[in-house]
């Protein structure tokens, strides 16, 4: 019996046929494809979850600016502020996701998730939910493997590189992985996971990659925070029972086609968008002379 999957429809089908949650199918597929034991696979996942948590702490505690001076210390400012609009858990996800991306920009250790530029969304969402609901390792494993399965399908059916598909492929994919992950952490069902992914990804379509001075800072750092909250919105809708009219694999295909239709100036070349604003150009020129 094989648990290997190519699409999210495959994962959904396997989950329903075997009456097993998505994360369990993903673990079994990993065992099947690599020949590794469950213990080894779960152990490595927990090592990476620990790096998620460490990178949140590093991003908050280290208040220094980055080498470029464009970011750093912003997660700490958020932590000192009392939120007026967001719920405590959503505000925490916003703060933590920004913390992880600041840690990344300041050369701390992170886990690319699925890329370095989008490495804050999954850890931000998972650590916030884990803390607020006082969850154990088992819950983090549910989130990790659900997110990984979603990311696996997007990587192989579409793309996750900003240079190929724009930011929708990077932060958009990260948010889709996170939306599914937090539904799984909260023990939502397979349909809710898939709807969370579809609702999340549908609402990032067209997002471009236009980093100032070619660095993973502006707009990347704060964008990771904003899309962590976006993942919460999608997860909340799915858990309330809302469904996506467009099936999730078709949304992934749309994302792929849109990405490839984007002009190259808006795919990580820093030749368009925010990078070529008056201020963006000025910052880039200053950094060249650094």
């Amino acid at each position: 019996m094989s648990y290997l999957y190519e699409t999210l429809a495959d994962l959904m089908h396997l989950s329903e046929t075997h009456e097993l949650p998505v994360w369990e199918i993903v673990i079994r597929a990993e065992m099947e494809a690599t020949g590794e034991s469950r213990e080894a696979i779960e152990g490595e996942a927990l090592r990476r979850v620990q790096i998620f948590k460490d990178s949140v702490v590093n991003g908050i505690e280290d208040r220094k600016r980055t080498l470029s001076g464009m970011s750093g210390g912003q997660a700490h400012i958020l932590l000192e502020h009392t939120p007026r609009l967001l719920s405590p858990v959503a505000y925490k996800a916003l703060t933590y996701a920004i913390a992880v991306n600041e840690a990344n920009a300041k050369m701390f250790r992170v886990v690319a998730c699925p890329t370095a530029g989008s490495c804050g969304v999954m850890p931000g969402c998972m650590c916030a939910v884990g803390e607020e609901f006082e969850m154990d390792d088992a819950a983090f494993l549910r989130g990790f493997f659900t997110g990984a399965g979603i990311g696996n399908v997007i990587t192989n059916q579409a793309c996750v590189a900003g240079a190929v598909g724009g930011c929708q492929a990077e932060v958009g994919s990260a948010a889709a992985m996170a939306a599914g992950a937090i539904v799984a952490m909260l023990e939502g069902n397979t349909k809710q996971v898939m709807n969370a992914v579809a609702l999340c990804l549908k609402n990032v379509l067209g997002l471009v990659c236009d980093p100032v001075a070619g660095l993973v800072e502006v707009p990347c750092v704060k964008r990771n925070g904003v899309y962590a909250v976006h993942a919460f919105s999608a997860a909340e809708m799915a858990m309330a029972g809302l469904i996506s009219q467009i099936p999730v694999d078709e949304v992934i295909d749309a994302m792929n086609r849109i990405g490839r239709a984007l002009p190259s100036t808006l795919r990580e070349t820093s030749e368009g968008g925010l990078a070529t604003t008056e201020t963006g150009r000025r910052i880039a020129a200053q950094l060249r002379d650094m």
């Binding site: 696979i41 050369m107 886990v111 690319a112 990790f144 997110g147 990984a148 070619g214 950094l287």
Partner: protein, 226 residues
């Protein structure tokens, strides 16, 4: 389908998998290929590496790699200090030329008694790398496989001699490529294998009269180079 650890991974020092993690692996690979103690290195950066290396910490990552640090080693952040401590002299040269790839670096490595080696490599994205040239000979070393490189004379029988030695040692070849400059001239054979190749097999290969030299590399993360 990929491994889940390629999707949620690699574990790395930020900020960029291509400009930082890949750079660290290139540095480590250069150290591994050079084998001798490195006293001095000139690093020529091309393309995007030349334009954005300071902001991405590409310079620290390359030096960290040359010191033997892995892409997830937090000492990369302070690699310049570690280089000073380890008496590694270095200079960065920003080339205005287009390299063969947007993220390319050339290492000119110097050891004891002016022993010198030139290594060119590129960062492919996601932390993956490819060394493309060693001492003006085209090669392909990814640091992900067990790799044998032979530098030999292009004549009948050399390839068969090497592959039969591997076959007798029960080593399976996964991929293989042969390059040559011209007919009956210098040639390079690149062989990736599924399992390690023992030193005695390598020395048998080296004994072939048409082979001038052989190199063997294990996957970068398994190779102990620090």
């Amino acid at each position: 389908m990929s491994s889940v650890f390629e999707i949620i991974g690699p574990v790395m020092i930020g900020p960029s998998s291509s400009h930082t993690a890949g750079a660290a692996r290139l540095g480590k690979m250069a150290r591994y290929i050079f084998k001798e103690h490195i006293e001095r290195v000139d690093l020529t950066l091309f393309g995007s590496f030349a334009k954005t290396y300071k902001g991405h910490g590409t310079d620290r990552a390359l030096i960290g790699g040359l010191l033997g640090f892995d892409a997830e080693d937090e000492r990369i952040r302070d690699a310049f200090k570690a280089a000073a401590k380890g008496n590694l002299q270095y200079q960065f040269i920003e080339s205005a030329e287009e390299g063969g790839h947007p993220n390319e670096v050339r290492f000119d490595l110097y050891g004891k008694d002016d022993y010198h080696m030139t290594i060119v490599g590129r960062s492919l994205g996601g932390g993956r790398i490819l060394v493309t040239n060693v001492n003006s000979l085209d090669v392909e070393i990814s640091g992900e496989d067990y790799t044998i490189l032979t530098f030999h004379h292009d004549c009948p029988g050399v390839i068969a001699a090497v592959t039969s030695l591997l076959g007798r040692a029960a080593v399976n070849i996964s991929t293989m490529k042969v390059f040559r400059k011209r007919k009956h001239c210098e040639a390079v054979m690149l062989i990736n294998t599924d399992s390690p190749v023992e030193a005695c097999v390598m020395s048998e290969i080296q004994k072939n009269k048409d082979i001038s030299s052989v190199m063997y590399f294990e996957p970068l993360e398994k190779a102990v180079t620090e």
